[in-house]
Symmetry: C2
Amino acid sequence: MTMADVARAAGVSVSTVSHVINDTRVVREQTRESVLQAIERTGYTHNTIARALVTASTRTIGLTIPVVTNPFFTDVVHAIETETSTASYTLLLVDSSDDPDHELRAVRALHGRRVDGMIIAPTSSAPGSALAYLAANSVPTVLVDRLASEDFDQVGPDNEEPTAALVQHFAELGHRRIGMVAGLPGLTTTKERLRGYRLGLARCELPYDAGLLVQGASQAEPARQAVHDLLARPNPPSALVVANNLMTIGALRALREAGKRVPDDVGLASFDDVEWADLISPRLTTMAPPRLELGRTAVQLLMCRLADPTRSPRTVRLEPTFIHRESCGCNPTRAGSPEPPAAREKP
Amino acid sequence: MTMADVARAAGVSVSTVSHVINDTRVVREQTRESVLQAIERTGYTHNTIARALVTASTRTIGLTIPVVTNPFFTDVVHAIETETSTASYTLLLVDSSDDPDHELRAVRALHGRRVDGMIIAPTSSAPGSALAYLAANSVPTVLVDRLASEDFDQVGPDNEEPTAALVQHFAELGHRRIGMVAGLPGLTTTKERLRGYRLGLARCELPYDAGLLVQGASQAEPARQAVHDLLARPNPPSALVVANNLMTIGALRALREAGKRVPDDVGLASFDDVEWADLISPRLTTMAPPRLELGRTAVQLLMCRLADPTRSPRTVRLEPTFIHRESCGCNPTRAGSPEPPAAREKP
DNA sequence: AGCGCTCGCGCAAACGCTTGCGCATCCTTG
DNA sequence: CAAGGATGCGCAAGCGTTTGCGCGAGCGCT
């Protein structure tokens, strides 16, 4: 069932078949009909890869994210999926496992498949990394979430100011020892949120104390361990800023294990929101990056670049929104809270 | 940077280049070296699609899931990703939005890209659906989670017995009015879990009462609405079986809004586990399907089918595990519970 | 009737790779 | 030293499309 078969069945040439399929030159109505029927009859399905070979375009975009199980990224992926599919592109998704080698392999595979462009939440920007490869092969690329290099189009949340705001919030509540659970070292988001942490401290004239800082590897279990250790230290924090959603799970577990009550014993606020933030008690105060917007913007940047590969790269920062609930120790007024109606009531 | 360029640079023919790349016939060590160098020098990257055209194999498998934001499916996807990538396949992922039309389009796109096989969590099995298309074009396919047709290889959790077990558990606790929040009508999982619900009732000699049953569309917000309505009915249930993870979120919100305490006012147990089941109070009793195993098995089934396209289709059922926590109204012993250590302590 | 247009379509050359076939060259052996 | 067998490689025919070029038929005009 190739185009040749269809052509034979319709008594025309392959070029005519191609033209009716792509609507790329005028064909007599009668002929078009018979071709359409022949397609129907033979059950022909277009071979996109043969087409790609000659047109040098696959209408496919490659997507590389660290972990497909992180709700933050799945929301981003979802937005990207929706946006690309309305532009009639298909997504090629690969999981980089937050490992530079794996990531490079993924990017290679994607490029080998001649994706038209790539969106990637980069794990590393070291030389010899996926990013270097992409630059070397001048693949149209946009970075998402982790803003690793101004040489690419990129979109991510603002990290520094919002994290500082979280710290300042705690300080205003009277906390003097504000701890932080930081993410995987090397990620730009980790660096920026850490910088925000220190910025917040400085603004409130609180000393930076390395003893209040732990590293949670951006994941739940390492974060649990880290917070566990943190709480065992001589002079533990009275408030905790957690740098992402997954680590928040770990932090909550560690706090419970240690018998600490939130927010009475330890105040808690996290960067990135979670679906169940309003289901636990106390409800979680978070700083929520606009996940969907992030994905949408990434696609838009990519489309712009595909349209004009020569334009100079843009960096877009999107503002997170502060979702003020109770784990910080406040009991914010319900009215005007950005909570959905479902979450307005206290359990 | 095509193979021809490399050949020229190395002073050999394209066939030799191809053979050293694919290691598909003996090449003098010296020649191989110079080809390898030429590849390095020219920055050549293999064109997978050109190769696919001639070998008629893309080493790509297509994956269609309803919603990429549902943690159940992302775990499945993750397992599939891991498993396929170790077999050096790449994944083409599309979101069907749980919409038959969208699904059919997705499947068409995937087939047009000549994926070697497909894994799909089908939305519909109606004639004219994606499944019909796949059968008609004899695309190697395996169904995952939703077991829609014995004509395909398929793997899903056992739904009926485990759901019945949940009902029986409540009955043993003395509940007489056990309600259910069912999923999207039309899904096989919905049907099976409903059947399990009725089976459980029958076994405990409890009457089936349509007034205890609501439909939550497999999603959080509709489920919240549904449970809201359910609780407003004259004689509301004292226990609730929720048919999936997302709807559990909705149910919890509705219960809180109605001022019902779990498990004192209403017992709760859900089919499918959630990450934060141990973080809320009371901790959630769930029936957890083996998500990773589901994904892994799907890939294995597909690999078998690719190896031997003629074998007759197999259906695999995997047993969920009962995770006995507290929302059912019990205070199960901690020892021997399948909970991770992190979750053993009560807040 | 002849000219030039328009209209509709077919021919065949790519696209970048794989692979069966066959030709040198060199080594082994009787 | 001739013959046969390895060994190492090139040639060219595809794979299923797209697309520039060009040709024939039909039409309106003078």
